[in-house]
Symmetry: C2
Subunit: 344 residues, 2 copies
């Protein structure tokens, strides 16, 4: 028996990227003719069959939804999955989850694996690397072949499909405005070093709130960091210099770390330092003091994403059309501020 | 085109349980003849094809591992998944995750879905309901058909297969012993109301530690609860009565709630109340005070489970045998106490 060869094996064997193999097999003109022909010949020799989703869709409905998310040890994505499961199960659908680990290659491979007849449609949040590369050919392809895709949270404007997002800019704006309303004037933004779309939007919202209120914009107060240790050092320094009276953090680890630093220095939260985090996480509910948060509404986002996908699947079934384009929707889920002890 | 009917639809149509349908299709004598024949006739009419895993295994290797876990908003399971992904990816395997939501039916349905040619083997942690019912036929069947299964954490002695566990009894014993060593004499066990095997083992360890140290065993100090609100009320009452000087909690939410109650009453943790939690979670690292924990070694557990499954898959491949029985292993991962502020 000749073992079925995978995209990954072809890439390894020919020493090219997974993206190159994937594009060559679709005969994409982005790839030079030499490489394209080499990949195609190799794939043919090993009986590699690229997905023919359109065909597999005609033959059966799996009643299964495939999810691809960047990571799992992340409360937000867990709550989105719970939201998807809920609506899926109510409608008789099963759910399969795979992780991209924020890797482009893993995202492509998982999509390839699931599209191979296991599922009826995708719900996906892009990996950081995919957003950085701006390479979405794997997603366009499944859509072109008639398999519906719903994107959530980390989406791309370059892909035409249904999307569920929150208004990250507005949410950040409102959070910073609430700090200003409480008399704070030196507000630090603690964010991550990355290329994810939502990070930029939150920075924009932060900046706009300052400017609209006639507060000085100080680039030194936009802190882009990777880990909590750096957070501890920088916030400690800023507190020492009395350079800040509030922190708006894009996740709860940065928020709780800022609070710890302030406490260690004998400062009082919220009196000396007010703190807000962007999160649905549980640390905020249980820390001392509890932390005011901008809710990301993960569960609601999952509910809506599942409903949009199922609507599209059932619509196709009714009309018999596999490409009911043109009417893609982007739903914006409302966020809200949950006031807790760290600001009051 | 006649739509492929699912186990769930047959169960609904005939108004019987999914378990009954599943067993009837295997011609299990546990099910009365009338029902069995009715289910079989119905399935035949709708062209329902039960899995023939043995056949599908002969035809292809998917290089994919299927995981079934009880829930996802749970740090422990997330870390196990990370551990599985790591070893799987290193060995060229992909991973698919499904959730049972602690429901027996969902566990059976997900197993059925994945066993249908999508994966080479399972890594599973049993749902509460499955452990309560003691019905493991769905797992025995896939094993009987030659598909390897590795169980972790919530396992059953009734199933012969590879297993990865921690010694919950010993871990609980050591945690309670450490509290006794620090002079605590009135130690409450805060645990959940459920039928999961690990819960009983932890209670056994708690009890043994008390008895071995000649401390009185007081049933009122074993607190079986569902939620943090109840935790707050009961711990509050016990503290008021000066009935406890330490809490050993089976999860970090109960631990952090106990600390909050003590703080509200003006008591000091650890002076007036020492607290240990059974968890790999992050709340413990970031709460004030930080919480001493028994590490569940989730990532290590995932690493080992994946390695055991892959070893078995590759062994089968080498020998050509699909049932290399007799030498099933149960690996016991070591736990350790991570000392933090709540006990020192």
């Amino acid at each position: 028996m000749k073992r079925k060869v995978t995209l990954k094996q072809i890439a390894k064997e020919l020493d090219v990227s997974i993206s190159t193999v994937s594009k060559s097999l679709r005969n994409s003109l982005e790839i030079g003719e030499d490489t394209r022909l080499k990949v195609q010949a190799f794939a043919k020799f090993y009986n590699y069959r690229p997905n023919n989703i359109a065909l597999s869709l005609k033959n059966r409905k799996t009643k299964t939804i495939g999810i691809i998310i960047p990571e799992i040890v992340h409360y937000f994505f867990s709550t989105v999955i719970n939201g998807i499961e809920q609506v899926a199960n109510e409608n008789g659908y099963s759910v399969i989850i795979t992780l991209s680990d924020d890797s482009f290659d893993k995202e492509v491979l998982n999509m390839e694996m699931l599209a191979n007849g296991s599922i009826d449609g995708f719900i996906i949040s892009l990996s950081k690397e995919t957003q950085f590369k701006g390479d979405y050919h794997h997603i366009s392809e499944v859509i072109d072949q008639g398999m519906p895709v719903v994107m959530f949270d980390r989406v791309s404007n370059e892909i035409l499909c249904d999307k569920v997002i929150i208004d990250d800019k507005l949410a950040a704006y409102e959070a910073v405005q609430s700090l200003i309303d409480k008399g704070r004037k030196k507000i630090a933004l603690v964010t991550t070093v990355d290329y994810v779309s939502v990070g930029k939007l939150r920075t924009d919202g932060y900046t706009k709130a300052l400017l609209d209120n006639g507060l000085p914009f100080n680039e030194n107060l936009i802190i882009k960091i990777e880990d909590v240790d750096t957070c501890e050092i920088i916030i400690g320094k800023l507190l020492e210099d009395k350079a800040i009276d509030a922190v708006f953090a894009v996740n709860e680890l940065f928020a709780v770390t800022s609070i710890k630093v302030a406490n260690k220095m004998g400062l009082n939260v919220p009196k000396d330092l007010a703190v807000i985090a962007f999160t649905d996480g549980i640390i905020s509910k249980y820390s001392t003091p509890t932390i005011t948060t901008v809710s990301q509404s993960g569960k609601k986002m999952g509910n809506r994403a599942a409903q949009m996908l199922i609507d599209r699947l059932e619509e196709e079934e009714k009309t018999g059309l596999e490409e009911v384009e043109e009417n893609y929707r982007t739903e914006v889920i409302e966020t809200h501020l949950i006031e807790r002890e760290s600001t009051n």
